[in-house]
Amino acid sequence: MNAPAAGAVFHGSCVQDLDRLASFVSETCNRLGADADTCFAVRLATEEAFTNVLEHGYPAHQGPVDISIAAERGGVSIVVTDQSPPFDPARAPVPDVSADWETRAEGGLGLHLIRKLMDRVEHESSDSRGNVLRLFKAFAHGDACSGQGGGL
């Protein structure tokens, strides 16, 4: 049995780190052999998680956010950790994606997209340890491959 591919860790703290985050995701997903659609989903989920912590977790919209990405049994495992006050995703407002253009709110889609794109979403928090968001996305074709298409 092959050993799982080692992951990598990204350290960010402000929205200006998004370019670096995108590069980190691209390089890591390519190294893990993830297909293009999986890479896209991972990039989007990590961006949404990262910006959510900055916008809603830290009063000055900046603070430490660590993101690790590793291979895990047929997919990609992502862990986002921060030191902001405990957050309960179940209490986050759910966007009305059926609202028409006039009444549609312009925000609130980040967590919604994470839940739709990822195959598994788990969250835990504590006053002393901040928040830990664990995500899992299965490879599009069940195992790592390159250059193959597939749905999100």
Binding site: A22, D37, R43, E47, T51, W101, E102, R104, L109
Partner: protein, 111 residues
């Protein structure tokens, strides 16, 4: 991410390329707002060269849709790539925005 404007008669085409993320979406929104303020209220956003969008990009599109429609025009999208289209679908944006396969079809829809 780059944005340029190409007038095509009574319709104007916003040529967008690259990734629309939490950083570049602010630039996109500002440029689209400028175009509307200059009177370009019938806008086609050419998404052929857009390889990625996050919810920040969707916010910019929605704000521009609202602004153009309130001025009697619209913002319509052309050439949206499959992964970007999926994001629009998951967010319910395909029922808010009109999408077309290419720029010419989007321009013709204003007739």
């Amino acid at each position: 991410m780059n944005v340029d404007l190409e007038p095509r008669g009574v319709v104007s085409v916003a040529l967008i390329s690259g990734s629309v993320d939490g950083l570049s979406a602010e630039t996109l929104l500002a440029r689209l707002h400028e175009y509307v303020a200059e009177g370009h209220v019938r806008l086609v956003a050419d998404f052929t060269a857009v390889d990625y969008t996050s919810s920040a990009g969707l916010r910019a599109l929605l704000a521009t849709v609202k602004e153009t429609r309130r001025h009697g025009g619209d913002l319509r999208l052309a050439g949206v790539a499959p992964n970007v289209l999926k994001v629009l679908e998951l967010s319910g944006f395909t029922t808010i925005l009109k999408l077309y396969a290419d720029v010419d079809a989007a321009i013709d829809s204003f007739a």
